[in-house]
Amino acid sequence: MNLKILLSGDGGQGIQLMSDLVCRAAIQRGFFVSHIPNYGLEQRGGVSLAFIQISDSEIAYPKFSKPDITLILSHQAEERTAKFSITNSQFSVKDYEEILKKNNIPHQSYNMFFLGLLARMLGEKGVLQREKVFELLREKLEKKPNWEENKRAWELTKNIRY
């Protein structure tokens, strides 16, 4: 097994943080993990990509163009990731905007919703424990502003259909 995950969003949306948590949770399950960030010259406002691989054997090369799972957190990221093969497991902010708005999830917490979604899917695939991701997330963000909102966005993904 070598699961390839591409996360994309605007710089500052926490793409690399999300990758870090997912990788650490997968490591806890004993998997080989590889993460490589990709961003442009901009200090802010550019597109941020994270290439993650979770595998049961050593990973020889960090990049890929055919992700098994793709997360797209912004319109800009949609354009940037268009060249990657479309997979069935593609989750874009545009497909979930209605749910997010209905539940009054503030824009800055959208990333936690998608992290929750990703953690659930990866949990179901057995590559990590969803609760482990939350534990790592709480360690990182509990004392930071908007924790309640972030937690609510995460929890919204518990029973959602995807």
């Binding site: 993990v33 590889s34 993460h35 490589i36 090369y61 990049k63």
Partner: protein, 361 residues
């Protein structure tokens, strides 16, 4: 858990670990993407390192005004007997050449971590394999440098350790030629399994002894003779340090027969291994007799090993993230008549699928 001894580290963190473990005491550097984190991690290490609960102040650093200064400062520090290194990339590697050429001429044991980025000029800040020529032949003179090309984080650690040992053993500049992908990638690595004994150093010049190490000569014969001696030393070193790898698929012996030979170095060799695996393991009827040859030292180049393999190859495919810098090295060293073609993608990554496609054409 299978991961107790393994650590989740980036390439830059691995380099700093290797330099500390090699006994390096000093880094001079000027920040440049994608190599900046080597400098910042080294500074953090120098400021926070504890030994037995006590602050260890033995690691030093200086951010110089540019790469030219970093290179010459490094030359000075090694003369005082300290294992010293720098790290740079792209246009920084260009500026570093003046000092590297002096280190070559004065036989100074300097170590440079080069993190290749796209060129020419500022190019991109991301990745390439376009600094091969620069690493070997970037200075005026004959390019008597030892150049390692690691293809994963474990090797990045190992060859950085070897770089210090061989710089101080043979007194030639050593370059660890990595790239932006390798430096930014974070993977699980087990560095404790790599056991390398560190070489002892001695001051090349001390305050009490007068010694004149020259980098300029009055008569042409003098320089000619010196270069002949250096070349002889370099060739002697070559016999002891040259490294290469042959890969015929996981679990296959290196002597397996093959018809097509892929040649790649650095991180691209990682992708090439995946490709060789995929091609070898394809259903029998389609299973290709393909192997990978990977020079680990680009200078001195493993010419003998290449020619041994080339004898049985019907075709050679060079795969690299440059327009042919590795191909030129291969052709320079190839003594067997065999067709050479390849896949050249300057400053772009190469995935295993592309290599599979190339060989299936």
């Amino acid at each position: 858990m299978k991961t107790n001894k393994k650590q989740f580290l980036t390439g830059a963190e691995v380099v700093v670990r290797a330099c500390v473990d090699a006994g390096a005491k000093m880094m001079f550097g000027y920040p440049i993407t994608p190599g900046t984190e080597i400098l910042s991690h080294w500074i953090r290490e120098a400021q926070s390192r504890l030994i037995g609960g006590q602050a260890d102040k033995s690691l030093k650093y200086l951010q110089t005004e540019d790469e030219i200064a970093a290179g010459f400062c490094m030359c000075g520090a090694v003369m005082a007997g300290e294992k010293t290194f720098t790290a740079t990339a792209g246009p920084g590697t260009v500026l570093m050449q003046d000092a590297l050429s002096m280190a070559d001429g004065m036989r100074l044991p300097v170590v440079v971590i080069v993190v290749q980025r796209g060129g020419p000029s500022s190019g991109t800040v991301i990745y390439s394999q376009q600094e091969v020529n620069l690493a070997i032949h970037g200075g005026n003179g004959e390019g008597l440098r030892l150049v390692y090309s690691p293809s994963n984080l474990t090797e990045l650690y190992e060859y950085t350790r070897l770089a210090f040992n061989n710089a101080w053993k043979y007194n030639f500049p050593v370059i660890v030629l990595s790239d932006g992908f390798l430096m930014k990638t974070r993977q699980l690595v087990d560095l404790e399994k790599i056991k390398i004994k560190n070489i002892e150093t001695e001051a090349i010049i001390s305050e009490n002894t007068q010694k004149n190490i020259r980098n300029i000569y009055t008569f042409e014969e003098e320089l000619g003779e010196k270069l002949a001696r250096d070349k002889k030393d370099f060739e002697k070193m070559a016999g002891e340090v040259i490294m290469s790898e042959v890969f015929c698929g996981r679990g296959q012996v290196e002597t397996c027969p093959y018809e097509e030979l892929v040649i790649a170095h650095g991180i691209v060799a990682g992708a090439a291994k995946e490709a060789v695996n995929a091609l070898r393991l394809a259903p029998l009827a389609q299973g290709k007799k393909v192997g990978l040859f990977r020079p680990i030292t680009l200078s001195p180049f493993p010419a003998k090993e290449l020619n041994e393999l080339a004898k049985q190859a019907k075709k050679i495919f060079v795969v690299e993230s440059s327009m042919g810098q590795l191909r030129d090295l291969v052709k320079q060293n190839l003594e067997v008549a065999v067709e050479v073609s390849g896949l050249y993608k300057p400053a772009e990554g190469i995935e295993s699928e592309e290599i599979v496609k190339l060989l299936n054409c």
